[in-house]
Subunit: 588 residues, 2 copies
């Protein structure tokens, strides 16, 4: 690659004034990145009652969570301390708490706003306490890989996207020897508290750590506090008014909405494509639902509805094919179908059928060898359990062939690797040919995913995370452990809360075994967000009512809107959020 | 899909104040879309010399283009009229031109700013002339499918993305019978001029139409004027200072830069992935070069360099693998590789080798039948031409297998359908295992494409296209035909130009036949943009100097920057653009 020929012009170019100014922009110094670092973030009322930023104390509120009995027995320290009560912000903290050493880490996939959790935490702890950043996620907590976070760091990371300030990983600290390692690191580094910024699994892990480090960690017999902060772009870590949404969801869905909105304009411009778009978001369909409310696509599938209403894959394909045909008759040979990443797992019987198919294909490898694919299928119907055989038989041919063909070197077809959007568009194509071969149907497939985890945070996510950080810091200074920082009333002053994490846990079957975990919040069919979606989707399918809501704006008249699903589900009056009731108008 | 159970809550939700306000936002009425419609767009100095918006006259400038002799013979009317001279803006037009009927259409793939070409055109034509919109592209010109564009339409589409106002298609009007159809439609609708908004091929088509409609179309013997407007996100329609860039390039590259910048933050957060990202842009690598200058990825491949420096696929793979290994030794197990869409065609000998392989695989189908893939390859080496056999043999195994395996029902492997990013990441993986199996390498692949063609236009693209529309309208009112509207001096008042299109044509081999076309502008290795890139890329590969330039901002301090490639190549002093020297500061 070093074959470039020289040029007379080289010196002139690289020494020009413009080249100089471009070089100065490197390493996160684009005009945009420079400008967002100095944008002011509003602290909410609770942190400003003394006129300047100050931590709050907490008092047990009236709301009591009801943990699973078996869980309660496993978290005796945490449950006894919290009595399952959610903490509300009380008065400003007047007692001076100093010399606390707090470690903070990112856990799991990145989400916009993580950096502002750190800046809020650092500023509420103030100069009397020390904040340590743990490098490369929970793994760094096992090895004591950490550094002191300074005010200069805060300036550098304020409002920026990504978890790159410290890095992240997916290490789970569960085994007794790992918990011992954490205790040792805490003693060696004099750590009094740990803040874990993560999703449902990371907060489950935080609950366990809080319980195990409750006391007897330090030489004086004291414990180490553990506080969780709710992060995930998937939106599946939420809990009613107490936890309206995890951070990162707003930024990610607005990035996807920008992309999907642009594609919707493209379909109505090119007039010849159906776009099948798979959206990141693991199991739950919150992301797809939010993006649908932002953009009004022709069709948006919601996994939870598929499961609860027992909708088969064949019915999904039929429904899309019929919409394509209906629109074609009206001269609209185009559209957009949103497919949630987790759809496959929600199709009744699909996951267990695939497992059964993997097993039986390995078992009857020799018998399958001489057969063509139709013969193979006929053979397999009888070898699978009756319900699995019937399910496989009911699928569109194109999907059957795909399921028979794609096997990794171990003979498996991992459900997560099925490109659902391609499978669906292929099946829809086959169905349309069957129903009406005169209908034109050209499809393009997309997966929108990683580009939305590390965007610069929206004004909402920046504000929310800064205040979540301040809440986490306040919980620590108030001596609490085993709580998740949260906020309620996002439309009216955003009040800090502490949710006892152990009280959120339940028994869930994971990889065939019962596990004590925070249950993933799924889209509820009786939630206002779904009900509203359901009331509009037919109109969206039959007309061009789409929006292209545009790129996230940090300045100007359109920079402040809550996720629509959150505003609907919390029954807010509008999409406006307000972290500080004293501030007027479009801030910052 | 109509199995939804009822809910007590339904009436409350769909009749809520919030639900009402959400419904009002449908059909392009999101807060963002509403706000951009009312943003003011600056007309450039030339259109404001009378104090109010007014068309300009044109005068032949000193710059003379030198057309291919053979071309000149085919465009006698156009060349005689233009004398190959570029037109510069002269005085404001004082003569009143009225009752002209102008048709405007979109041709080819959509690009941001198309709607503002229409708004600029409409406003410069004023109420004394009539603007007709042709529906669904050039096809609509053959059938007379058009409607009158009103001031209300202008309000509705101002600054919005997409070509959805009228639609587009890829019909080429070349055959004599099609040109006759256009003549008939012009007579029937009383059309005096046609504006074609399109890329290189569409402007080639505009040149042909201008020549054929030069005279004798109307009953009085007069002709129909044809004016082109340079559109394409690919940036391959540009011509020195006379045509600094096509519209849509700025918006598209800034959308890709947002996505790539976010992925760069993601790699430095997750610390474990190499992302291979293929970027739209057909043959030329302008898009990839611009995105590289915006984001500073670990590696960006430039097709034109590959061809000119005769870099083999094996060398590309080696180079990437060695960078991966080098970074791994420094603890950086992550990175981003940008791959231009057209790369494959630029690898020496690759395209003809694939054609040869398709042919010979069909020819020797029976002989290949009983062989395993290694035996098939050995067999094919001897059947291809010597140079093709050697090229195939030199490729990484993973690529060889792919080339042998993937055939469509006609036995072809269309080069354009090779997912280059997947091919490269597979080959790099194999190479790393060969060179140093201890190096961790996990890759993710992406194609960023359609989501960037219909974004809301950047302030630059909005301003540029509005003024291109005003330029096209002025050329018409000044009685010109066969010109492409353009602007020069984008950093200092942006002066309107008319470029004689026929003078830009050259003979190029397309699908094996010589064709008279506008030559696609490729990245020049001696251009300032490439030289600057070349001077920085090693630093980018070895360090984390990346930017995440963020979503396009329409308001605020960062809404106004030219594409970096354009500013460098035009030797501007900064990234600032200025369409109107009287306006100060950050406008609009």
């Amino acid at each position: 690659m070093n074959k470039l020929t020289g040029s007379m012009n080289v010196e002139n170019v690289i020494n020009s004034a413009l080249a100089y100014s471009l070089k100065v922009m490197e390493k996160g110094h684009s005009p945009f990145e420079k400008a967002i670092r100095t944008m002011e973030v509003p602290a909410c009322d609770a942190f400003l009652t003394l006129g300047t930023l100050a931590p709050v104390t907490f008092v047990p509120g009236t709301k009591v969570l009801e943990p699973n009995r078996e869980i309660a027995d496993s978290f005796p320290n945490s449950i006894a301390a919290s009595e399952n009560r959610i903490l509300s912000a009380g008065d400003a903290m007047t007692a001076k708490v100093s010399r606390k050493r707090v470690a903070v880490l990112f856990s799991g996939g990145p989400a916009a706003g993580g950096h502002n959790v750190v800046t809020g935490l650092k500023q509420i702890l103030g100069s009397d306490n020390t904040l340590l950043g743990v490098k490369a996620g929970p793994k760094g907590l096992l090895t004591g890989n950490m550094f002191e976070i300074t005010d200069e760091h805060v300036q550098q990371i304020m409002n920026t996207g990504g978890f790159n300030f410290m890095g992240s990983d997916r290490t789970k600290i569960e085994k007794p020897e790992d918990i011992d390692k954490v205790k040792t690191v805490c003693r060696e580094h004099g750590i009094d508290a740990i803040v874990i910024i993560g999703g449902d699994d990371s907060n489950t892990n935080a609950a366990l750590l809080a319980e195990k480090l409750f006391s007897g960690v330090k030489e004086d017999g004291s414990g180490v506090q553990v506080i969780g902060v709710p992060k995930t772009i998937d939106g599946d870590l939420q809990h009613g008014d107490e936890l309206p949404i995890s951070f990162g969801f707003d930024t990610a869905t607005k990035i996807y909405a920008e992309e999907v909105g642009n594609i919707l304009r493209d379909t109505a411009s090119s007039l010849k494509y159906w776009h099948f778009i798979r959206l990141m978001g693991r199991s739950a369909s919150h992301v797809t639902l939010e993006v649908a409310l932002q953009t009004h696509p022709t069709i948006a599938l919601i996994s939870e509805e598929v499961r609860e209403c027992n909708i088969t894959l064949a019915e999904i394909v039929d429904s899309i094919a019929n919409t394509v045909i209906w629109r074609a008759k009206k001269g609209m040979n185009y559209g957009v179908v949103l497919v949630p990443e987790g759809l496959i797992e929600f199709i009744p019987g699909f996951t267990t059928m695939i497992d059964d198919l993997n097993d039986k294909m390995a078992q009857f490898k020799d018998e399958l060898g001489g057969k063509n694919i139709r013969e193979q299928l006929l053979f397999m119907y009888s070898k699978l359990t009756q319900s699995h055989g019937e399910l496989l038989e009911s699928l569109p041919d194109s999907i059957k062939y795909k399921l028979m063909a794609d096997r990794d070197e171990h003979g498996n077809l991992p459900v997560s690797q099925i490109e659902t959007e391609i499978m669906l568009s292929d099946a829809v194509k086959a169905k349309i040919i069957e129903l009406d071969a005169t209908v034109k149907f050209a499809s393009l497939n997309h997966f929108f995913g990683y580009e939305a985890r590390c965007g610069a945070s929206t004004v909402f996510d920046s504000s929310y995370t800064y205040n979540l950080g301040a809440t986490a810091g306040s919980l620590i200074l108030d001596g609490r452990t085993g709580y998740m920082a949260s906020m309620t009333d996002l439309d009216n002053g955003a009040k800090p809360l502490g949710i006892p994490i152990a009280s959120l846990l339940d028994i869930e079957i994971r990889k065939g075994k019962p596990a004590k975990v925070i249950e993933k919040a799924l889209v509820k069919l009786d939630s206002p967000a779904f009900i509203y979606f359901e009331s509009r989707r037919r109109l969206w399918a039959e007309n061009d009512l789409s929006n292209s809501p545009g790129p996230i704006q940090l300045w100007g008249p359109t920079s402040r809107q809550l996720p629509k699903t959150v505003a609907l589900n919390r029954e807010y009056q509008s999409l406006d959020f307000k972290f500080n009731t004293a501030l007027e108008g479009n801030l910052p």
